[in-house]
Amino acid sequence: MNELLQRKPGLRAWLLLAPSFLWLLIFFIIPLGIIVVYSFLERDLYGGVVWKWTLENYRRVFDPLYFKTFLYSLWIAFLTAFFSLLFGYPLAYYIATRPEKTRNALVLALMIPFWTNFLVRTYAWLTLLRTNTGLINVWLQEWGIIDHPLPLFGNTFAITLGLVYGWMPDMILPIYAALEQLDRSLLEAAEDLYASGWQVFRRVIWPLSLPGVIAGTMLVFIPSLGAFVTPAILGGGKRLMIGNVITNQFLGAHDWPFGSALSVLMMAVMLLATLIYFRTGGEEARRGGLG
């Protein structure tokens, strides 16, 4: 036995891998397979499935009623990624250009929200944004800045804000990591040459930080597309995302096959995005290496 293990390192590797691999095989890969199979089955009236193959579920996904929700989710995910990048990039740049001690403290300060509960963070915005009793509207009205409450809640704005708040650290950290590796003298030179600062940014800093930008965009886009908590709380029951529809199919409407089809489609979009990411990411890395 010992000799066999000594001769076959692959066997030793699999011996160590076996417990976690089996766990994930049974409780992750097989469940994934079940969902895929379910998406081709018919529902029965009591919330179960009938073992009859059909493509009906995928046809229904493209029913305008549901497909609109799907496109809306893509739109929200895009907005979230866009605004996270727009506001996150300068912040990442700000952190990267601080002295080392400040820098480490700032990164840590960014991690702390990440370690706190997502639900709690979403709830915090609920108390701020609610139309009549939300802090922002109450204060603005008290100070006489506005007469009528602003529509801050139960709409695209609220959902996007909640998601940007929740996922922006995931955008900032990879960009910061890319910027931090930049030659410090390069940044100082760029600061020094502010007359052509924009050119330096566009020609030097932006291309070199692109791998971080792409990674960050993926890390924000994917969870935003699958969001459930944020639209459930900040959407006020009016605006639904695909995650809410899936939830309804599994916990409310009891149409598991259709819910499975929606999930499979959602995962397919994410897989596609990941593949694009790896392709462009690889290309950027090559170009960066040569340049």
Binding site: L91, P113, N117
Partner: protein, 296 residues
């Protein structure tokens, strides 16, 4: 103002002004960014002490919402459930994830490596909602169901939500593996060879050299798993049967019914818990640095 040969030309002066102004605006932006992250949480905590049912109009300081929280048996039970699930699933996931990380870091190339990689990293990419329905369908189809096992453990009656724990372990294994693998990658492998050279069997090499040196990574991974488990709402929501709540599930239910300072109090408690964990992680890291265990 007359220009002397040493002072800058007007245009250089303008540039300097713009530079200073730019720096100042930049600082302001950085400050605003962090305010964005911290203000909502701060306001949330402040209003947990509000002597009114409102969470937007200040009416004086009180601790009555914390009292109400402590007297709420449901919340206290949910808190216990959260900690119990987190402890058990972290323990299992840490052991399994650490072993997997050792395999992946130690044996660079072996048959089936790609399959192992995909299986291990996919749970990180897949959004929690997808993982939640997958597990729900699996428990339903397999007949495992969403039961609570009643277990006697040294005379203590425990309610073990087996489906929730299975789900938490499934998403935590991958995170532990990633963290431990990062630590192992920094470790000097000749240390293990040195131990084997000094007559330590692989088993003793592991206990005497490998484990102590990768301990920071294992602790880091366990801490991450613990936090993720405590924070998880979606997967628990789908995989817990009727009548079983963790704290996030309970809070979600409360939010559905309306906003009250009691929720702020519970949220503050959860925030405090997270901060405590971060502090622990930092202290552990600093302690290591001072004792200079590890190679750096």
């Amino acid at each position: 103002m007359s220009a002397t040969p040493t002072t800058s030309t007007p245009s250089a002066g303008q540039h300097r002004l713009r530079h200073v102004l730019g720096q100042w605006l930049f600082h302001l932006y950085g400050f605003a960014g962090y305010a964005f992250f911290y203000l909502p949480i701060l306001i949330l905590v402040i209003f947990s002490f509000n002597d009114s049912r409102s969470v937007s109009k200040w009416a004086g300081f009180t601790l009555r919402w914390y009292e109400a929280m402590l007297q709420d048996r449901q919340i206290m039970l949910a808190l216990w459930n959260s900690v119990f699930v987190a402890v058990v699933s972290t323990a299992i996931a840490t052991v399994l994830g650490t072993l997997a990380a050792m395999a992946l870091e130690r044996y660079r190339r072996f048959p089936g490596r790609l399959i192992a990689d995909i299986t291990l990293y996919l749970p990180i990419i897949i959004p929690d909602i997808a993982m939640a329905i997958m597990l729900l369908a699996f428990f339903n189809l397999s007949g495992i169901g969403l039961h609570i096992w009643k277990v006697r453990f040294f005379g203590v009656r425990l309610a073990v939500p087996i489906s929730v724990i299975i789900g938490h372990v499934a998403f935590n294994i991958s995170f532990v593996a990633v963290v431990v693998q990062a630590r192992l990658a920094q470790m000097d492998r000749t240390l293990e060879e040195a131990a084997q050279d000094l007559y330590a069997s692989p088993w003793r090499t592991f206990w005497r050299v490998t484990l102590p040196l990768m301990m920071p990574g294992v602790l880091g991974g366990a801490l991450l798993a613990f936090t993720l488990s405590l924070d998880d709402f979606v997967i628990t929501f789908f995989t817990s049967g009727a009548g079983f709540n963790t704290l996030p599930v309970r809070v979600f239910g409360m939010i559905r019914k309306g906003v009250t300072p009691k929720i702020n109090a519970v949220s503050s408690l959860m925030l405090g818990f997270s901060l405590l964990l971060v502090t622990l992680a930092l202290l552990a890291a600093r302690g290591r640095e001072e004792r200079k265990v590890g190679f750096f």
